[in-house]
């Protein structure tokens, strides 16, 4: 998850989630970043609206009705 945390850290401070920024953060955390994983993450996050996803994550979870007894 360290790559995801790094991405959310960047997002929460308003920085772009790109390879360079991710690398900088991960290195500061003492990790040698894996190019492929960074590229994959950046690509995967393209088109994802992070604010929306987070907002949804906080939303109430629907509970299916218990089956009739």
């Amino acid at each position: 998850m360290e790559y995801v945390y790094a991405a959310l850290l960047l997002h929460s401070v308003g920085k772009e989630i790109n390879e360079e920024n991710l690398k900088a953060v991960l290195q500061a955390a003492g990790v040698t970043p894996d190019e492929a994983r960074i590229k994959a993450l950046v690509a995967a996050l393209e088109g994802v609206n992070i604010d929306e996803v987070i907002e949804k994550a906080a939303m109430p979870v629907a509970v299916a009705a218990a089956p009739a007894a």
Partner: protein
């Protein structure tokens, strides 16, 4: 006061002194209290740093005036407007709200009396009663109470509300309730008004809804908790929720992006698999493997 009997002067003097020596002065109506419960209440009040003195309404009025004058607190005189029934003076250190609550909590159940209004719903509970079979069964049934004889005892089939709060007890029902040992009435000191620090409080003001305060407490706590977690202000109470929220946020984003880690793999594969299942449900059966 020229023609006033000596004992009355003394009584007023004593009452006034009492009023002057306590911060909270209340008027209560003792007329519904039988002698024994009243003496119990006196003891209870003494145990709670107070005193109850029953006197004639006219003397109470004079005592309040005298005390108000001597204390230089004209607001105290307003208490006089609330004197009614068999008034007594209750002086205490409890604040008026606590006093009201105290009096409410110490009301005692009393047997049914025809013509009296009940303060709460009266329910005859389901189950066996101590009553032996007799004409009372027919009387109960006539009133819609599901009574039956079981193993030689009158048994009530299910909980039955026979009176709603505020309704009046009929003589027939009073008989039945007394036979069952159900005490639907309450006796206690009725607070007429209470004075403290220049303010006269009436029972309407003093009857606070405790549940409302509990709700407010819970709401205040939730607000504080929400605020602290949402702005990530770490406290011993919020640190876990903050960590969890951060984790859940990260996980939600990774799952949405289809970025597989050991924390997200179950969700991601599960999502794809469930999408397949849900879609398959919409297809004709012969299409499925």
């Amino acid at each position: 006061m020229a023609h006033v009997a000596e004992w009355k002067k003394k009584e007023v003097e004593e009452l006034a002194n009492l009023i002057k020596s306590y911060p909270v002065v209340a008027l209560v109506d003792v007329s519904s209290m039988p002698a024994y419960p009243l003496s119990q209440m006196r003891r209870l009040i003494r145990e709670n740093e107070g005193l109850l003195r029953v006197s004639r309404n006219t003397l109470i009025e004079l005592a309040i005036k005298k005390a108000a004058q001597e204390l230089g607190k004209p607001e105290l005189e307003k208490l006089i407007d609330y004197i009614q029934g068999g008034a007594g003076i209750l002086v205490t250190k409890m604040n008026p709200f606590k006093l009201y609550k105290f009096l409410q909590q110490n009301r005692q159940p009393a047997p049914a009396k025809p013509g009296a209004k009940v303060p709460k719903d009266v329910v005859i509970p389901a189950g066996p009663t101590p009553l032996a079979p007799g004409p009372i069964v027919g009387q109960m049934q006539a009133m819609g109470i599901p009574a039956r004889i079981e193993r030689g005892k009158v048994t009530i089939q299910k909980d039955t509300t026979v009176l709603k709060a505020g309704e009046v007890i009929t003589p027939e029902l009073a008989n039945i309730l007394n036979a069952l040992g159900i005490q639907p009435l309450e006796v206690g000191l009725d607070l007429l008004a209470a004075y403290e620090d220049g303010i006269v409080y009436t029972p309407e003001v003093l009857a606070i809804d405790e549940q409302e305060y509990i709700n407010m407490l819970q709401q205040a706590y939730m607000h504080a908790f929400n605020l602290a977690v949402n702005v990530a202000y770490p406290t011993p109470e919020t640190i876990e929720a903050i960590l969890q929220k951060a984790f859940l946020n990260a996980k939600a984003v990774a799952v949405e992006a289809g970025y597989i880690t050991k924390e997200t793999i179950n969700d991601i594969l599960g999502r794809a698999f469930r999408a397949m299942l849900l879609l398959a449900q919409q297809l004709p059966e012969d299409l499925l493997d």
